[in-house]
């Protein structure tokens, strides 16, 4: 436990900025995992698996943007 001890009173402004960014990055990472593993998004991702195969030919006719 000594190894994990933190002297909170000694934290500088830079330390707090670093901690804040680290926690935000961690939360964002969890949010991305939830998005990727959400069963509702499964079919949406799977539908793009063959995207690289749709662009054959010198000229392209696959634009599907509304």
């Amino acid at each position: 436990m000594e190894y994990l001890h933190t002297d909170w009173a000694a934290m500088t402004r830079n330390d707090w900025i670093g901690v804040t960014f680290t926690v935000l990055a961690f939360v964002a990472m969890i949010a991305v995992y939830i998005m990727v593993f959400n069963p509702r998004n499964k079919d949406g991702f799977a539908a793009q698996a063959d995207m690289a195969l749709r662009d054959e030919g010198d000229e392209n006719n696959s634009g599907d943007k509304k």
Binding site: M29, Y33, V36, N41, A46, A49, N61, G63, K65
Partner: protein, 477 residues
């Protein structure tokens, strides 16, 4: 599969892609040739010829810059512009900016060829070039970033393919890393001093160094993998969901690893422990991505018998898996105590550079040459020969350095019953000689393969030009 709501006809901007492709093939030869020369200097030091400009200390950064930024850079730009247009069903946002990017990047390479042998160096690993070249790199890189992002913005497909995410992740992170790492006070045109000092300088150096590996040599080339393996095998990505997870996990994870280069230094102990822990955790997404690439061949494994380009791409995945296991193991403190400062590190880097980065590049370049010049390869047999030469060369090199590195580490730490070191340092250097010869031979074999590729590509382009001249209609078919 999505319905195509609107039909558009797009003529891509592929001339600049052709030029980047040719530059990549040429710099593949040049970069590995310099590598063979510096490896030979370590085995046979007389090759210095007492000329400062060609000593190991000056040519080694030229080799790393040539293979990473000249060969690797031109591969990334060629494939990036190729993929973003085809998956976005659009032309480049600015063809002129792409040409500025091409000539700007080649000018930077010329600057490296002049300054590094002259001994002008900032002494930072993979960031040796003088401060004014750093500014040129930032300008040219931003032109690439702007063009790439805007091409994605104007795409006509609703989804942005995962390869483009990997490339944009690389663009964003390399911009940030290059600018922060290169902060320096210029004294004159040749000299500058880093604004960081002591342990902060070391930490910034390896924050840049490992993330250049993570986002440029890994992320950028994973973008290539996720396009060209499905393309060459004619199979959809095994799990697109896993590819998205792969991208985000690498993006969040890689930035923590740099401190594992600085175990047992003045850096706080916890930073090294954190670097090691996250390094081990990174095996999971890395292997997930490698399996995703390999499993994309499900139902098409038989193609490996006849499709030599696919062999390059799949072998690259095997090396990717191997080096992303080797690296985290080396990050563990007890292993690092043995491996650090030895040739094991050199072997690890080249398992990635020769086996992963180069193999995936060769596969992608062959694929693009056929498409860009609308022809078959001049000789498929030479592609196969190149594959085996490259594989034998890479394995010879890596095995030599692994054995040499572990032997070095064991000799350095061995002591007798009185606590005295068993071997002097020079004895360990002497013991390395056979492995340094083996490394030079392995590198030379690998370099021979790049000459075979250059010949084959030149003949393919000449063949395509001849066909176009005699029969323009057939050439377009």
């Amino acid at each position: 599969m999505e319905a195509h709501a609107k039909s558009v006809t797009v003529k891509y901007d592929m001339d600049v892609v052709r030029w980047f492709t040719i530059a990549a093939v040429i710099f593949g030869v040049v970069g590995t040739f310099i590598g063979v020369y510096v490896a030979s200097e370590l085995a046979w030091p007389f090759l210095n010829f007492d000329m400062a400009e060609i000593t190991f200390g000056r040519l080694r950064p030229l080799h790393t810059n040539a293979v990473i930024f000249a060969f690797g850079g031109n591969v990334l730009f060629a494939t990036g512009y190729y993929i973003v247009q085809r998956t976005g069903a659009t032309k480049l946002w600015s063809n002129k900016l792409a040409w500025f990017h091409f000539w700007g990047w080649q000018t930077i390479i010329v600057c490296a060829v002049i300054t590094l042998p002259l001994g002008l160096s900032q002494g930072k690993e993979y960031a040796e070039l003088p401060w004014w070249v750093d500014i040129m790199i930032a300008v040219v890189w931003l032109s690439y970033g702007l063009n790439y992002v805007m091409t994605n913005v104007i795409r006509t497909t609703s989804h942005m393919y995962v390869s483009n995410w990997f490339t944009m992740g690389m663009i964003v992170m390399i911009t940030y890393l290059h600018v922060v790492n290169s902060m320096a006070i210029p004294v004159d045109w040749a000299t500058s001093y880093s604004i960081y000092s002591g342990v902060q300088d070391a930490m910034i150096q390896w924050w840049w160094g490992h993330n250049a590996v993570g986002f440029y040599l890994t992320g950028g080339f994973l973008g290539i993998m996720y396009y060209f393996i499905p393309k060459q095998s004619g199979r959809p990505v095994f799990s697109y969901r896993l590819s998205v997870l792969h991208f985000w996990t690498l993006s969040f994870g890689y930035v923590w690893l740099g401190a594992h280069h600085l175990q047992y230094t003045a850096l706080p102990d916890w930073t090294g422990s954190l670097g090691a822990a996250i390094s081990l955790a990174m095996i999971i997404p890395s292997w997930g991505g490698a399996m995703n690439g390999m499993m994309t061949l499900s139902g098409a494994w038989d193609k490996l018998r006849t499709d030599y380009i696919l062999r390059f791409l799949v072998t690259a995945m095997a090396f990717y898996a191997m080096s992303t296991f080797d690296g985290p193991v080396m990050a563990i403190k007890s292993v690092n105590a043995l491996s650090h400062y030895t040739d094991w590190t050199v072997g690890h880097v080249h398992a990635g550079a020769l086996g992963w980065m180069s193999m995936i590049s060769f596969g992608a370049l062959y694929h693009m040459v056929k498409k860009l010049w609308n022809t078959e390869m001049y000789s498929d047999r030479l592609v196969n020969i190149h594959f085996w030469i490259a594989l034998i060369g890479a394995v010879t090199y890596v095995v030599a350095m692994w054995v040499s590195g572990i032997m070095q580490g064991l000799m350095w730490r061995d002591y007798d019953e009185y606590g005295t070191l068993t071997y002097t340092f020079v004895e360990s250097v002497s013991a390395m000689h056979p492995y340094y010869v083996m490394r030079a031979v392995g590198g030379a074999i690998f370099n021979l393969g790049t000459w075979v590729m250059l010949f084959n590509v030149v003949m393919t382009i000449r063949q395509a030009s001849a066909t176009r001249a005699t029969n323009p209609v057939a050439a377009r078919a």
